[in-house]
Homo-oligomer: 344 residues x 2
Amino acid sequence: MKKKITLKQIARELDVSISTVSKSLRNSLEIGEETRLKVQAFAKFYHYKPNNIALSLKNRKTKTIGVIIPEIVHYFFSTVINGIEHVANENGYSVIICLSDDSFDKEVLNMELLANGSIDGFIMSLSKETQQKKDFHHISEVINQGMPVVMFDRVTNDIQCDKVINNDELASYEAVQSLIDKGRKKIALVTTVDYVSVGKLRTDGYTKALLDNNIPFDEKLIIKIENIDNFGMKIDKLLEDRAIDAVFAVNELFAVTIIKTANKMGLKVPEDLGVIAFTDGIISKYSTPTITTISQRGMEMGKVAAKILIDRLESEEEELEEEEVEVYKTVVIETRLIERESTN
Amino acid sequence: MKKKITLKQIARELDVSISTVSKSLRNSLEIGEETRLKVQAFAKFYHYKPNNIALSLKNRKTKTIGVIIPEIVHYFFSTVINGIEHVANENGYSVIICLSDDSFDKEVLNMELLANGSIDGFIMSLSKETQQKKDFHHISEVINQGMPVVMFDRVTNDIQCDKVINNDELASYEAVQSLIDKGRKKIALVTTVDYVSVGKLRTDGYTKALLDNNIPFDEKLIIKIENIDNFGMKIDKLLEDRAIDAVFAVNELFAVTIIKTANKMGLKVPEDLGVIAFTDGIISKYSTPTITTISQRGMEMGKVAAKILIDRLESEEEELEEEEVEVYKTVVIETRLIERESTN
């Protein structure tokens, strides 16, 4: 690599202060146009790359948002990122994304990496392993150092920060209620294991809807799937015995797999089996039949999370000297039932 | 934000050189264990965050790879990223992702942002707009400054750097040949507009396969789609007139839309219409019928791209003083035809 010129060298060459160079490079209107353009031209000529952390320590902003998500092959997280990008760009912020791959260690490493002067604040959704371990020290450390964090979807009550969530319990309740309204009575819940916070809440909503409609709760109708590859026997048995007339699946991959299994057994969807999935993804739109889903409105979630973070970053600037107690908010994004062919 | 302690302050407090602090924080074995642990403990206690660019200028590494992709709601790019993450993590590298959103400006901004001391090198796929504009100055600038770039999938001949690609022309040829082998003769190509390099290559492969099999080329059978939402009439007309017996679609979204349209018109897939899609995604696996695809093997592509970049970064270190002519390589990842229900 070639040697790079430093802020200090530019200042010496042009006989101005380092602060002037730094402000000029950020195009601050505090500096007269002539000086600003001269510094910028000089810096460009020598391929000067401003030093992020130095700028951020001086000005407390990199105008960059760090996003940490558990996985990337996941339509919901993709739409959240699109929402974040949208609001960030509108407000002159860049977005940097890291994946935790549902690993606690990677989540910790990524936070260290980004907190390292590259960004002004975090938007994140917890990894499965972090939720299992209940170890959130890496997040509190970042917050204690004064860097704001906004959590979305997979959040924890153990950390005080801004949060954007769905009401997963209510959304599930409404989905199950909609099946009951259509005359379904033997409704299976196909869900994940409980350590992911949202899985638990969705189960609660399911149970409550049955209870409120005087439908006896039957533990055998709750199928917990750790991994899509060992989906197998339990659901096959229920379908074979005609023991169920509807399925509420916590994701669309479960839903489409059930529909395919049902079809093979000669069951028709929606006639013999109504199917609703949580999270509206690309499969639901294009499967045959198309699948009724609860949209988490990821795009909206991302937009709101970015708005909250940016508001906090910009108000922080104004009140830099004040010592106030932080008041955090939790915004609930209302889900939406999108009726398609798999229910009738 | 709280005031952060600097490298300089740690050095002063512990009465060691800045270089010793810097090396200790990177856990360099050049520094004796006692000093190293003392510096690390002190830094941790004062929440010291090492300054990336200072470290990287001194040591020429951040052990971080920057990835720029055109879009995130895209199964292929997600799998490439998984491949990159896999090899990066194995080699102790972190990965930071930015989205160009298929915009030239965003691609330029993201490169500036990341080249700014946060990363050691880039893995990128060009945005549509960049390919349209044919303006690659931001990439040559980065390369001229000594930062290696590996391009994948959407690449350009105008930039000399390492590249990882599919043989899009050959893959299309083989797909069309497989339809011909199954007795199909009236094969439509449903493709994107030509400014995306891969779209052009896939069309060439289609044309060549017809030619080699003495099937007359008919321009009316090439449908160019700018946007999935105005899919419409042209393909409807072809299906209605029974003018085609097979479709080769350059992506699975096109393929599944055609299958649905055909079904509505009473055409059966694969009996009346064979369908193959380029790029193996989640829709192809779960649609009814499942769709025969050409897998681009994104995971493999990502792994190879990361391997090339890391090899280059680590060999650079060894040969830091040598002035050699760079020899770049282009690795071709072989595609794979995955036969499913939509062809027979």
